[in-house]
């Protein structure tokens, strides 16, 4: 069949200069990481500080609860680390493990959202985005890496991060026995005995990452096959697969949020939490797609993309920043108003505890106030300069969001953002970008036979 594409082939070239810059970033990250680690090892009076932290958090919970019964419960809940004879690892180990787990969970979103974005475009039969689909496709190559990292990190760091992994919580004869966590035990340990190997938890992790990866390679195989022949069949097939993926992701993203983030605060729960983590991942992913598109546009690629496409991406970042705020506030207001101690403890740990309270408010400024005001006008969404300003703010803002979701529960008052945390972020970011840009350079930058490319060329808003 004679074959004329409506756009010229484009191939992204991952230039050595760009790669060198990313390696510099990686180097800076490693230096900060090592300096931060040394400071954490020799800097703090770890053991004493830990006891201090346990006492402090008891007091915090006690203050939050008005009556003696609650106080006793809180004591039972917070005190069993000592009573059960657990000697937690040194403070620097906890800090290291926390930041590794937190960064990996944050970057899982930057991978999976690539696939989620593609699936939405196919399922909604969207035309405008046909020219930029290769960017989220490259982002999704992070999924298997994040999955393997998470599995390894669980076995290395899990016992430190997840309170529910302590076996004596489930032993009715132990003084550390915790009826609340015992009630949740099946959710982690189903198929095995409580306190043993968390079969159900690990099974979910494997099934989610395995499922996401399977959907990714299936959809990508068709996207790439379409480059070689003009036919609509791959588009139709991907539409169906995308729909199934969206159903799978709707369930798996929520459960993943409970497993990997919410279960760190084992006693606490929020029915909004699945949405909350998803909203954070989603807007971060959208910001990353926009940032990479803006970077490619600056470098002279993606001729098919004009200010109309940028406008749509900008609207996505703008709208879902507001969506995230809506979820954030929905969770906050209900807990604030109901004023039930077992729920408010979450916000007391984050709003009223010194290392985190500034991040709590910074979170709202970076993720709501700034994107809302800076992207409000039409012109702002249509210009590369404003998009390149706002999207890094959103990405960093949601890193802080994840920091405040994970760290207070593990570190209590001993957490903080220092060289170690920033270094870990830079290491993850540079490796992530190296992987994504390498993958981007591997395949044509434009999906030239996408049936809606013509529509995308004429996109006008």
């Amino acid at each position: 069949m004679a074959h004329h594409s409506i756009v010229a082939d484009e191939l992204y070239i991952f230039r050595p200069e760009t790669r060198t810059k990313l390696f510099y970033l990686l180097g800076v990250g490693i230096v900060l990481f090592v300096v931060g680690l040394i400071m954490a090892i020799y800097g703090g009076d770890g053991h004493h500080a830990e006891e201090h932290a346990a006492v402090k958090s008891e007091q915090l919970v006690a203050n939050a609860t008005a009556n003696a019964v609650d106080q006793e419960e809180a004591h039972a809940a917070e005190g069993h680390a000592e009573e059960g004879g657990h000697h937690g690892p040194a403070l620097w180990v906890k800090r290291l493990y926390t930041t590794l787990w937190m960064n990996n969970t944050f970057f899982v979103g930057l991978g999976i959202i690539g696939l989620f974005f593609i699936a939405i475009q196919y399922a909604a039969q969207a035309g405008w985005s046909a020219g930029i689909l290769r960017v989220p496709m490259a982002m999704a190559t992070w999924i298997p890496i994040a999955g393997i990292l998470m599995l390894i990190l669980y076995f290395v760091t899990g016992h430190t991060i997840f309170h529910w992994t302590h076996a004596d919580l489930y032993d009715a004869d132990s003084p550390a026995f915790d009826p609340i966590i015992n009630g949740k035990g099946t959710y982690f340990y189903w198929l095995g005995s409580k306190g043993g190997f968390p079969t159900f938890f690990i099974l979910r992790m494997v099934v989610f990452f395995g499922g996401w990866y399977w959907f990714f390679i299936t959809i990508r195989r068709r996207m790439l096959a379409e480059d070689n022949e003009i036919t609509n069949q791959y588009w139709y097939a991907n539409r169906v697969t995308s729909t199934w993926f969206l159903i799978f992701f709707a369930v798996s993203s929520s459960i993943a949020a409970w497993d990997w983030v919410m279960s760190i605060d084992t006693h606490w729960f929020s029915t909004m939490f699945g949405w909350y983590v998803f909203a954070s991942w989603w807007v971060t992913g959208l910001a990353m797609i926009t940032l990479i598109v803006a970077y490619l546009k600056d470098a002279g690629y993606l001729k098919i993309v004009d200010s109309n496409h940028l406008h749509d991406l900008g609207k996505f970042v703008f709208a879902f920043s507001i969506f995230w705020t809506y979820i954030w506030f929905g969770q906050f207001l209900l807990i604030y108003y109901a004023n039930i101690p077992e729920e408010t403890v979450y916000f007391i740990e984050r709003m009223r505890t010194s290392p985190y309270s500034w991040i709590f408010y910074l979170n709202l400024i970076l993720n709501f106030v700034l994107p809302f005001l800076l992207l409000m006008t039409r012109d702002a969404k249509r210009q590369l300069s404003t998009l390149k300003l706002v999207t890094p703010i959103v990405i960093v803002g949601h890193w802080f969001d994840f920091f405040n979701m994970v760290t207070p529960a593990v570190m209590q008052e001993q957490g903080g953002v220092g060289f170690l945390e920033i270094g870990t972020l830079l290491i993850f970011l540079s490796v992530y970008l190296l992987v994504v840009l390498t993958s981007l350079a591997k395949y044509p930058l434009i999906q030239k036979n996408h049936p809606m490319l013509q529509e995308s060329l004429h996109h006008h808003i």
Binding site: F329, F332, L333, Y337, A338, N339, T377, R378, H460
Partner: protein
């Protein structure tokens, strides 16, 4: 000069023809009064050379009015006029005020936009907008050209330009 009374009305069947016609007619020096279409035609505003609407600015101002009014109302009511303890919170505490503030912001922005749009579009309750050709609400695109504004050209000349640009018919319309 008797402006806004005497018009020539070009009728177009197809929006693509209309779009090129608008450019051609403007290039030939004829000033277009307005174009009416039964559905939005992408690129028509640009072809007609319209400036961006300032409606978003009005919306923002109405929205800010809603935000301020909502906050003032609630702080005054629950903080000063009739203080009540709800859920052990301060009289005037911000979080419970946010939903009402949000709703009033949206309400005032939306109503303000609709009102502003109706006024600038000449859709007042005490008046009736001019209709150049009733078929513009059905299946025809209608272009109105003010004869007196284009007095440099004769009616025949304008009619010929409209025809050449693809108008299926050209009618005259006079308002009293």
């Amino acid at each position: 000069m008797d402006v806004n009374k005497n018009f020539l009305v070009g009728v177009f069947n197809d929006e693509d023809v209309l779009l090129t016609a608008v450019s051609k007619i403007r290039a030939s020096g004829v000033k277009i009064h307005e174009v009416y279409s039964p559905f939005p035609v992408h690129g028509l505003d640009d072809a007609l050379g319209y400036k961006r609407s300032r409606l978003p600015i009005a919306a923002f101002l109405f929205g800010m009015t809603g935000t301020s009014l909502a906050l003032l109302m609630q702080i005054w009511m629950l903080g000063y006029d009739w203080p009540m303890i709800i859920g052990g919170k301060n009289y005037a505490s911000l979080p419970p005020f946010i939903p009402v503030t949000f709703e009033l912001t949206v309400l005032l922005a939306a109503l303000g936009m609709v009102g502003t749009f109706m006024i600038v579009s000449d859709m007042k309750p005490y008046g009736w907008p001019r209709q150049f050709d009733v078929r513009s609400t059905d299946d025809k695109h209608v272009m109105a050209i003010d004869v007196d504004v284009n007095s440099a050209k004769s009616r025949d000349e304008i009619t010929r330009i409209l025809r050449d640009a693809g108008a299926s018919e050209v009618n005259t319309k006079t308002f009293e």
